[in-house]
């Protein structure tokens, strides 16, 4: 049996992976670098959500920036309102846009708890409604991908256009870190890093359990043949909406973390290239592997940070070429490469003809 498919070995790999990541603050003394690593954790969550939606559910989602951005705006509004008080009730940019009172849209964000709840609930609800409408009408495959892309552009334009409420292209820059009660979350501290890592861990374990549940099995069946699943008595739209919404919720959490770490949000979070790069992370790391997708995000964003300066404007070209190579030669991404290496290793040591692992090595029709 290929150890890659052994669930116990997978959990062990998860344990080692997260234990190593937890050690990072001991080794990194530069707080700016630590903050950067924490943002990689945010990208990891986004890649995880894509892997869940696209890899397991077969729903190619090019608009994951929507729940991410909405979550980020919600959190930014909450943090902005924390710095306002009775004598100074409105964020400065609103005054510049000649508003004379705080808009209704901003009112709930004066309470931190309600603000955070909204930052998570609004994007999740949006995904549930948008996904529900689309999937019930049996919009699927490339058509759904195009709809998400169109929706993403619509949000981008909307956020940009309602400048008095969102500060348009300048975005929102909360002047001080998030305060939870009396505790201020220093975005450059190991605590912030560990918090993001803990959320990533919870999301990964939750997602993994979900793929092992009956829900995960049905979702994978829907990926294979949605039509067939219907005739087995499952409401396919319900399953698609649920997996799309859960992925959206994870992206919303990532959006909140992003603003806590960077104290900044702008329409760039709704940019199509950002949402597309999430798909590229998952594609390169291996969309069928949750942890593969996370590692894909780390690798690509890490490379962008360090090589991006060297290549400057040609970076996107390099990334695109790399993506084409992966799609052509490693359709299951880097995780797929590991899978076939481990498979070769285990079949050469112990050959068993009636084993899934053994068969995985042979080219399969339809792949």
């Amino acid at each position: 049996m290929n150890p890659y498919h052994n669930v116990k070995a997978q959990w062990l790999a998860y344990g080692v992976f997260f234990a190593l990541l937890a050690l990072v603050p001991m080794l990194v003394s530069d707080s700016f670098l630590l903050n950067q690593f924490a943002t990689y954790g945010v990208f990891g969550m986004l890649a995880l959500s894509i892997s869940l939606c696209w890899g397991f559910g077969g729903i190619l989602n090019l608009g994951q920036g929507i729940p991410f951005g909405l979550g980020a705006y919600g959190m930014a509004m909450t943090m902005q309102m924390q710095t306002q008080d009775a004598s100074n009730p409105m964020p400065p940019f609103m005054l510049n846009n000649s508003l004379d009172h705080l808009p209704l849209l901003w009112e709930p964000f004066r309470q931190t708890a309600l603000g955070i709840v909204l930052a998570l609930a609004v994007p999740t609800l949006f995904c549930a409604i948008f996904g529900g409408l689309m999937f019930r009408a049996r919009v699927s495959g490339p058509f759904f991908a195009i709809m998400t892309l169109a929706m993403l552009s619509a949000w981008y334009t909307l956020i940009l256009d309602i400048q008095p409420y969102t500060n348009g292209a300048n975005g929102i820059t909360p002047p001080s870190p998030l305060k939870l009660g009396d505790y201020a979350v220093d975005p450059y501290s190991p605590v912030a890093y560990w918090s993001v890592l803990a959320l990533l861990l919870v999301a990964t374990v939750g997602a993994k359990l979900m793929t092992l549940s009956r829900f995960g099995l049905v979702v994978q069946a829907v990926r294979g043949d949605a039509e067939r699943v219907r005739f087995l008595g499952y409401n396919v739209a319900g399953y698609e909406t649920t997996v799309y919404t859960i992925a959206g919720f994870i992206a919303a959490v990532a959006g909140c973390c992003w603003v806590v770490l960077t104290q900044y949000v702008s329409p760039a979070q709704f940019d199509t290239t950002f949402s597309l790069s999430m798909v590229i992370w998952a594609g390169i790391g291996g969309r069928l592997s949750l942890i593969g997708a996370i590692i894909g995000a780390f690798l690509i964003q890490g490379a962008q940070s360090y090589l991006g300066d060297t290549f400057l404007n040609t970076w996107l070209l390099v990334l695109g070429a790399f993506f084409i190579l992966v799609v052509r030669f490693l359709p299951k991404g880097l995780a797929g490469l590991l899978e076939s290496i481990l498979g070769r290793f285990s079949t050469s040591s112990k050959s068993n003809g009636n084993d899934v692992a053994a068969h995985r090595l042979y080219p399969q029709p339809g792949e």
Binding site: L212, F215, D225, R228, V229, T242, V356, H359, G366
Partner: protein
């Protein structure tokens, strides 16, 4: 109480009528074979019963429930299972997982997130795997099964649903003689406890298993009765059996 009853069913694609005032009643615990020349509307009838297509007019009742126009999953939950003409299995899942998906007692997505084992599954799996001869192949990916095995897997999946009515579209298409023989024995076993409607072109197979044969032609009922009467019927010989039987 009637089991499955189709009354004055009509279906047109644009203006082309495919099913034309088709009425039929299926009696419980019989095996009915649906035969007819290509384009007679056999598969469309199955689509209409299972909700894949909505009828233009007419009514379908199942155990006195009106199922006309319901969605596929609702009809499946009422106890109608279906095997497709082109075998439809989940190729990238293992045979075991295929059968697990088909064991669809709980269908709520939110509840299924917290459900890892289905009570009664392993017993049923043993039973169905033995019945369809797939016990040795449970760990294999469904995509690498032979054509005959794929057909049996899909039959197994339908059985997993434990349906009251099984609709099987060309279950022996592309099978070798030996495989057909095995399928015949599976069906003879099934006949004892289930109601089956089988669309099939292979007259030898039909002769072997059918209690009742229904002949369709141009979207309407041409003849219905035991196989001996059907083969003697001059109208049936003319439109369908003519060439084959000389």
């Amino acid at each position: 109480m009637s089991f499955l009853e189709i009354k004055h069913l009509c279906k047109s694609f644009d203006t082309v009528p495919v099913i034309n005032d088709f009425s039929i009643e299926i009696v419980e615990q019989t095996l009915c074979c649906l035969v007819g020349p290509n384009g007679a509307g056999k598969t469309t009838t199955m689509d209409l019963i299972t909700g894949r297509q909505k009828p233009t007019s007419g009514q379908i009742t199942f155990c006195d429930d009106d199922i006309t126009g319901l969605d596929e999953h609702q009809i499946a939950r009422l106890g109608i299972g279906r095997k497709f003409q082109v075998p439809a299995v989940f190729r990238d899942l293992s045979v075991r997982q295929n059968l697990e998906v088909a064991f669809s007692r709980s269908t709520n997505p939110l509840k299924n997130i917290f459900r890892f084992r289905e009570p009664g599954f392993s017993q049923r799996l043993d039973q169905i795997a033995t019945q369809t001869g797939l016990t040795e192949r449970l760990g294999v990916e469904a995509g690498i099964l032979s054509h005959g095995e794929t057909q049996w897997l899909e039959i197994g999946m339908v059985l997993m649903q434990d349906p009251r009515l099984l609709l099987l579209d060309e279950p022996v298409a592309g099978m070798t003689e030996a495989e057909i023989e095995k399928t015949v024995s599976i069906f003879k076993e099934l006949k004892k406890t289930n109601t089956l409607v089988v669309v099939e072109h292979d007259m030898a197979f039909v002769r072997e298993i059918a209690d009742v044969v229904t002949v369709m032609h141009m979207g309407s009922l041409l003849a219905q009765g035991p196989i001996r009467d059907i083969e003697a019927d001059p109208r049936v010989r003319e439109v369908y059996l003519g060439d084959e039987e000389g």
